[in-house]
Amino acid sequence: MIYVEVGTRSLRSFDTQLIFAEQLAARGFNVCIDADYLPEDAGRGRIYEAAKFLVDPGENKAQTVFVLGAEEIDDFLLASLRNKQLAPSVPVVATGRFMTQQSYIAAKARLAYALGREAQVIDLTDFQPRPVLPSTSSPLVADVRPVLRRSKRVVPNVTLVLGSMELDNPETLSCFSRMSSQSGYNLKLIVSGAQNEAIKASPFHDLPTYLYTGLSPLTLAISTDILAMFGNGIAGVRMAAFAVELIATGGVAIDCTDDEVLMSSGAPALLGPKTPFALDGYLIGNVIGNVPQIVEQASKSQWLHTVDISRLETAAGLTAKQRQSEQDKRKTLFFPTNGVGLGHAQRCSIIAREMPDTMTKMFAAFPSCVPLVRREGIDCIPLVQRADTKTNSDGNDVLTYRRLGAVLQENDTLVFDGGYVFDSVYRVIRERKLSAAWIRRGLWPEGRSRQTMLRRESVFDRVIVPSEAFDELNDAYSYGDHVHYVGPIVRQVEQSAAEKEQLRARLAERFGRDFKQLVVSMLGGGVASDRSAQLQAISGMLEARDDCLHLVVTWPGSTVQPATFGWKNTRVVQTLEATKLSLAADVVISAAGYNSVLEMLYHRIPAIFIPQSAPYLDDQERRAAAMADRDLCAAITEREFMTLERTVADWLDHDGAEFYRSALNGFELPKTGAVKAAELLTELGARI
């Protein structure tokens, strides 16, 4: 294992470690960073970046040690080196920019004191006399290689780093907005926190902005074809590393900085306009049509030798491993968010079933969904559920990121089914250069920020929207060729009259009591909305009916209130076959989730819907109301206990459900969309 250490600990130097570690990892080496280096104020982005490298001190035996920023060495580094008790054969290579011979000698001596032997100290000023960012502890090196860019892109990706640019001129953002809207290139802006706030507070809040720590420099370089840097100097080590990596891998860098910092370092960059107002014309007129020629000229620059990472690898006796050119077989991985219940996972499994057997499919899912997926015969990577803690509530997503990153390779396809696009999903798609699809249900509740929800849509190649059964529920949230609407996706089961009777008989046997009437309640696991009062009311009213069996049906693993177990006519059933129970029931009382409503509708099962109303759920009240408006169900709000009791009694005693059953039987169902969705995904997976 290669350890990447740094002379002094700070947020900036941690960036240095991360950048170099990622570069070595990309070259095929096993790299790690002592977790002790993680700064307390690392911030969300860095934590994701660091997650794949951090190890507990002493967890792994060091085979090589790199020390960055050796021009300034503190006792933490020396202690770290000494505690590793490195064998004499372990190379220790230190890099630094030494302004004086004394600082070089001092660094060499201090390292030698800690190690008990001499380290190999490389003075970067020897081969980088004019570094892009003189003050950084980063060696600012890169894997110099030609990269096939724009393989999947019709137009180039242009990234603007605003640097120290002031945004007080309102015309500036207006200019970016115009650039963002034209069709000759895709624009994104890399901004500071303050710039981001200013943009979000402006009328141009939908500009595609990314923070400096939003993605790693390597990932930015992969997804950028043309980079333009503004401001005075370079905005920190991350942006410097981004520029170096981009140029080294055949991208085009345009130096728009006030002090022409890229040009003065000798980097093969273009000298661009110093104002963004002239940039669009410069890009369209001078750059975009001439990219191959510009890249060819840049590739001849001697400057590339000064940033070649292999120089450091050679010093450490490392040989870069052969890049894995082609994986054996591309795979499609479904990542359903469980949300409440298993709806996302069920929808994904329905689509997966419709895809050709020749395609390699797998799932990554939260524990509650794993049995559902595996019973379909599909491999599933278990993920970790979000922990309800204040300190690290997103910790599970970091783990998800690690697990997705471990299984997915370039050109695989990731299918995400959920609302909010997690950092893990966004990052893995970008970093692994995946094909990606977003299965995005509609019917977002009032008040949900559309901007927040759609912020990461651009990372997906396709958005697949499973429709609702009723047109008025199919709101459109984004537009474009990449958005595909498919019919409702619903799991359909068949149950004959005989099978229905057999199931009722099995239930009687299972629970040791005969019954004439079967009531099924599926009000959710209590996570989104507490339905214990409604369940108690239903259980209570059915208690006096000796010929009635009341089943409280939940997904396996759901939490069930203890009070539910206190009724003699009520039993709890945790099953993946709720539809079959519903088909066998006389009365079904259900929440109005997407799957529940469609299953009732497509199986023509009359139901009493009690919508749930958590802010992160879709708008169940609208869905239930659409059904009720067509007399396809009874819809009751969570507060209407008397209505609930009266309706249940009416359905049991006077066959009140018959009215709805007739309406359901006469209703023309829209064509389901699983096959279409599967086709879209198959096509995406086959594309490179």
């Binding site: 202690a79 000494r82 004394q102 030698a112």
Partner: protein, 357 residues
Amino acid sequence: MLAFGRSNTPTIAYVIEPRFSGGTSAAVAAELPVAAECGQVVVHAITSRTFGTNQHVSPVLRQVLDDLNIPIIWDAPRISADFVFLHNPSFLKFQDTLGTRIIARELYVITHENFLRPGGAEGFDVSSCLSQIEASTISLRKTLAPISPFNRSGVVDWLATSRVARQWDVLGSDWFNICETEVSAPCETPQDRRGRHSRPGFEKFPVIADLDSCFPSHSQCNVILGADALLNARVLRAHWTLLPFNAITVQEFFGMIDFFVYFTAPTWQESFGRVVAEAVAAGKVVLTNPDTGATFGNAVLTCQPSQVDTIIADLIAQPQKYHDQVARSQSALQNYSAGKFKAMLSGVLSADSGVNK
């Protein structure tokens, strides 16, 4: 400014960076009274970048200067004397000019800090420091004065590969540290009570495996004074008593041990080793590496960390041997007395300048 000391004797200017907190200031403090007996002494302090801009003076030095009524002259533009003794040129390592003109018949640069580390790597930017001195000095002769055998070998080896070698002579005898601390008798019956003390720098400590060999779990006690770095890095052993630097007095520390086991990082070497002399004076048997031991001749036992256990076991089994070793050590300290130093200094002051009169 009048020089302090006897008239009609040579004028001696000390050029020092008085903010060195360790051996250099202690060594200068010990030799100043002797020098004052031999000549008229002035003390010039240089404000170097190594220690910043304040004008703090090391306490041990301040005490002696007060006793001798010698004022410190800070950053004089010109220093003139028959003899100029510039102590520890490494204080110039973070700058490129010595802002003082030195005019002397003889300049002696006392090389407290080793020019070369074990293995031959430079200890500091020697060339830069000596060049600054050379460029600022007009003298008949410039001499480097090593303070110990190891220190001398570094000076000689460095000069052998340096283009400035011809500018410098090397003093034939060592400009040793005066060690005149009070001598204590050894304990009656030595026990396996081991310890070491030093400043807490990483260079002062061997690798952890060697530290484990020197201070094993089976010894009665292991006291490490100056263990700040070990404490900070959580390098802890149940059988170690780790104390930060200055947590107890040196006298208290010596009261806790019978064997002073002193190894440093193999890439660093004490240039003199006052700490060893103090342990000997305190009546302890000292075990150390051969290069450190070379300064003190047979005053200390030299060995490798892996041999420490055997040597200590042998001396505990034979207390008389222990007593003999301490006696031998303490008598060897006579070589570092003020009297011996005065003899060495007299030789320096009376030496022929080599210039025809």
